[in-house]
Amino acid sequence: MDSLAAVDWTAYQDEALAAIGSALSEAELDDARVKYLGRKSALAQALRGVRDRESGMLLNGVRSKLEEAVAAREAELARLAYELAAEAGVDVTIPGTPVTRGHLHLLTQIRREIEDIFLGMGYEVWDGNEVATVWENFDALTSDPGHPSRSQFDTFYIDQNTVLRTHTSPDQIRAMQTRKPPIYMVSPGRCYRRDTPDATHSPIFLQVECLAVDRGITLADLQGTVLKFFRALFGEEREVRMRTSFFPFTEPSVEFDVTCFICGGEGCATCKHSGWIEMGGAGWVDPDVFRNVGIDPDEYQGFAFGFGIERIAMLRHGLPDLRAFWENDLRVLGQF
């Protein structure tokens, strides 16, 4: 056939590819498609007249190349359209669509952080009851019958034998009564003392108790554990120190301080210019406490320490007044 012979299909294909590739809009692309692939195009007419296998292969090859090129250019143009629209109209500095989000209370966040540090050291978390017997809260902890903390002016009594726990230490007693050593546990929870509320006192407050009972536990183990804990909480540069103290249920008893994480030990208002911040009380478990719960102090030894959660929150986050924790103002809760 003349027509087949008359057309240079290589040139046709090049020309068509150039036209398709340079189309700048859907309309231009469509024009090119109609011109080179449409029903009236030279290619379509030639295809209709194909009689032999060889020309068929050649022409179909051209057609599929051109169809591919049209599809590719179509996708490119679509993308170009998005890009153009985006460049013209989006101010990426405008805030995104708001998502409603709540907040865990700061004290819960810190409680969890403390729990997680101890979980990592292989401790269990103990949930203790807040109402305790006088035996659990005082007697079993070998507290002196004359100790002022037992008085009605310091402690909330429900009846003669029942109190709102004044510390988390009764959980030591309960844990040791229900578990066989070794025991490694922390017990966070609410405690109660008859303190008139002010910026640093609340009749209800949160404490954490830590107890380790095992063979051969020493005061050095206490120091090491306290050190690991406070480094985890306040940074690896922290140091701790122990000072002599008195608690009925530990002997020796110590207070522990941590180097100030505000000034790094140089001295500032937070640490009262001493470089150290008092964190809590601790000690080697008094053998008589073990005897009270039926553990042989010749076989097992232990350490205990306790501290306040609010104090950590206040120091670390700069809250001046612990009453804020109980007021639940969304503007405060939402900061953490």
Binding site: G122, V131, Q152, R243, F246
Partner: protein, 761 residues
């Protein structure tokens, strides 16, 4: 306790700076709150404080209330000084501060200046200005034999450093200067001087009558009689010491009892002997109806549990707490009976509580004072009464009950190392214990000194005595674990999950008080002695606290308030309630807002909630129960707007959590969805309709969802149309149209039978 350092140095020598001593005591012995300066700043400043002789003293020409004086201060021209006091004249010897001198407190420097036209070159000092006493009567007149120009510091205690310490409960021996000196000596490994006090010459042998009826509560009583006591002011050094220690000087006799108490730790009391009926002392329980006006001027109704000091007729003191006005030492006291005794801690504690009193002596007795120190205290006070009040000691009687012997302990120095995790050499242990007053036999039998009898009865207590001096050296190790396993319990993990779901749902976590003013449960446990009427009852629900938190947020102008709390409630009966973890929430909005949150919690825990309409407490207008709790909408409240709340018991809720979630094939074959609308009686809850549909559909059912609840045209009155969407899916095959017809049929039939519901076409 406030410790004047000059006083401490009387009993122990030390070279290190006081701040360093304070720092080290903090590790070994007691809290040191701070070191403060009493009196004038020391050093060069003392050069401005001199003895002066008044050469002339006349009225100020321009001021009626002032004197104009000329004072010889030993060097240079006599100084003219204007003075407001009139209790002296020419010839008097006085204390002068010259221009440049800094006054006590460190803020005020004396300058040469004109006062009403006359130059004043310094100031004539009163006791009060030097913090040596309370005398407001005028300036201090000194002894005439002093030479003008003598440094005042040689004559008077111009200033002192004061250690402010807090003693620990178990260390009553540290409520005395001598006790602290002993601690310093042990800390610095230096020598402690002998206890102060030298028995004066006995000037007579008068009988003193003392009867102790209750030797358990008063195991020791020494009474000493002093005649011809010259009552007056104490010397400046003694007053300065008392003031430095935080006590007010009163009179020489009273000051001496306080001074000796501070020095040795055993409180003393002085009675006016001539006011003792029958000239006798009886230590006994108070009798019913007896009263005593104590030295603070309060009339006290005595309790038979009170231990009293009485004379032949009446109580004259509450033992160990406070003396009575009826036998108080006063200006015309001539003869004094000195009490040096020992009282049992609990007796004093209970009397103090009963009468709501807090005195210096009481705080010492409460902790347990060494009965043996009563003797040295009596001796030292006697010496001072003779030396400073010109008294004659004419009689003594001592009554002594059973006083427990101090402990003797079999000790093993290796125990110290076992406890500390630090090797403390045996020699060091022996030396330290010795300096603290412990006897240590060659075989390590340890004898506790009397003043540590209560605190150091066992070997572990001996360990502490050695250990506390080595705390700075204890290494940091970790326990060598036999086993190691730490994880949250199932319930603890679920609790965290619930909290996180609620935070994700936009709620803020609140902490509210477990004690509240009222509780809906009439049997809720009440505190017999609450701190305030606002914190009286242990709550049985979190709802009230959350309402309060919502109210506070409204008051603060906050919006979009949605709060939750996870905390204990305390279920009666008492005295030991059942404590349960609860989840409570409050949101501004209607019932469905709260319900949606509860559904989210159930969904997170994979529990299918079943809500049933229920009458909640009267403050709720809409209410429903759900497994483990309730959801409700409040009626009109003090809070503006519409508020809904919920509360779930977490243990009950968690009990329904499936042990594990099994995979269902929702991928292989497509689901078949049907929307169905039924017309039925208005009274049938949609939840029941859906539950019935679910039951009828069988195991191929995947999901039933509520679509709408419509009433009105064209639905007849009393009826409603409820539309639901159901989805079926089989893990084994593609469900066909035929299956759809069958499943729809079984639902339609079940709902028709159960509720008379008709399928709308």
């Amino acid at each position: 306790m406030k410790v004047p350092v000059s006083w401490l140095r009387e009993y122990v020598d030390f070279d290190l700076p006081i701040e360093e001593l304070a720092r080290r005591l903090v590790f070994t012995s007691c809290e040191v709150d701070r070191v403060v300066r009493r009196g004038a700043p020391g050093g060069d400043n003392y050069e401005y404080f001199v003895v002066g002789k008044v050469l002339e003293a006349d009225k100020h020409p321009n001021a009626d209330k002032l004197q104009l004086t000329k004072i010889d201060v030993g060097s240079g021209e006599p100084r003219s000084i204007v003075c407001g006091a009139w209790n002296f004249g020419a010839g008097a010897t006085v204390a002068v501060v010259l221009p440049g001198g800094v006054m006590p407190g460190g803020e005020f420097t004396i300058e040469k200046r004109k006062l009403r036209g006359e130059v004043s070159e310094g100031m004539i000092l009163s006791e009060r200005e030097l913090e040596l006493g309370q005398d407001h009567g005028g300036i201090m007149v000194l002894s005439d034999d002093l030479t003008p120009g003598t440094p005042l510091a040689d004559v008077l205690p111009l200033g002192d450093d004061i250690l402010e310490i807090e003693t620990l409960y178990n260390r009553p021996d540290l409520t005395s200067i001598y006790g602290i000196a002993r601690e310093v000596a042990a800390l610095l490994e230096t020598d402690l001087r002998a206890m102060p006090g030298k028995e004066p010459v006995r000037a007579g042998d008068e009988p003193v009558t003392i009867t102790v009826e209750d030797l358990e509560r008063c195991p020791r009583y020494i009474g000493r009689l002093f005649r011809d006591v010259q009552l007056g002011e104490s010397p400046a050094w003694l007053k300065a010491r008392l003031m430095g220690a935080g006590m007010r000087p009163i009179s020489n006799v009273v000051d001496i009892t306080n001074y000796v108490m501070l020095a040795l730790g055993s409180p003393l009391h002085a009675f006016d002997y001539d006011k003792l009926a029958g000239n006798r002392i009886v230590v006994r329980r108070a009798r019913p109806g007896e009263k005593l006006e104590t030295l603070d001027g309060t009339m006290r109704e005595l309790d038979p549990e009170d231990l009293v000091i009485a004379d032949a007729e009446k109580p004259i003191a509450i033992g160990g707490v406070m003396g009575g006005g009826n036998t108080e030492v006063s200006d015309d006291t001539k003869n004094v009976l000195l009490e040096a005794a020992n009282f049992e801690p609990l007796t004093v504690l209970r009397s103090g509580e009963r009468h709501r009193m807090r005195t210096e002596s009481q705080t010492r007795w409460e902790k347990g004072v060494d009965a043996e120190v009563a003797g040295p205290a009596a001796t030292y006070a006697s010496q001072l009464l003779v030396e400073l009040a010109g008294a004659r000691w004419t009689g003594e009687r001592e009554v002594r009950g059973e006083i427990p012997a101090p402990p003797v302990i079999a000790f093993r120095p290796g125990y110290t190392n076992d406890v500390l995790g630090l090797e403390v050499p045996e020699d060091e242990q022996r030396d330290r214990l010795g300096r603290l007053g412990f006897g240590v036999d060659p075989d390590w039998t340890v004898h506790t000194p009397t003043w540590r009898r209560r605190d150091v009865p066992r070997d572990i207590d001996v360990v502490e005595e050695v250990a506390r001096f080595r705390l700075e050296h204890v290494p940091a190790t970790l326990p060598v674990r036999q086993e190691m396993f730490g994880r949250l319990t199932h319930e603890q993990r679920l609790r965290r999950q619930v909290e996180d779901v609620l935070v994700g749902a936009g709620l803020y976590e609140a902490y509210t008080y477990s004690l509240q003013a009222t509780d809906p449960d009439p049997n809720a446990i009440e505190l017999p002695v609450p701190l305030s009427s606002q914190q009286r009852v242990l709550r049985t629900t979190l709802a009230i606290g959350l309402l309060g938190a919502a109210q506070h947020n409204i008051d603060m102008g906050n919006t979009d308030i949605a709060l939750f709390e996870v905390a204990h409630v305390y279920l009666p009966p008492g005295p030991v309630p059942e404590e349960r973890w609860r989840l409570g929430g409050i949101v501004e909005g209607d019932f469905f807002k709260a319900k949606g949150i509860v559904e989210a919690v159930f969904d997170a825990l994979h529990i299918e909630p079943t809500f049933e309409r229920a009458k909640l407490r009267k403050e709720f207008v809409v209410g429903a129960t759900v497994q483990s709790g309730w959801v409700g909408t409040y009626g009109p409240l003090e809070l503006d707007g519409l508020w809904s709340a919920f509360e779930l018991d977490l243990a009950e809720l968690f009990a329904e959590v499936p042990e594990r979630i099994l995979y269902r094939d929702v991928i292989t074959y497509p689901p078949l969805r049907l929307d169905l609308a039924f017309v039925l009686d208005e009274g049938v809850p949609a939840g029941e309709l859906m539950a019935a549909a679910r039951k009828a559909a069988g195991e191929e059912l995947r999901d039933v969802r509520f679509l709408s609840d419509y009433r009105g045209d064209p639905i007849p009155a009393g009826k409603k149309s409820v539309a639901i969407a159901v989805a079926f899916q089989s893990p084994e095959r593609t469900l066909t149209d035929e299956d759809a017809g069958r499943l729809r049929g079984s639902i339609v039939q079940a709902l028709a039978e159960r509720f008379g519901a008709e399928l709308r076409s």
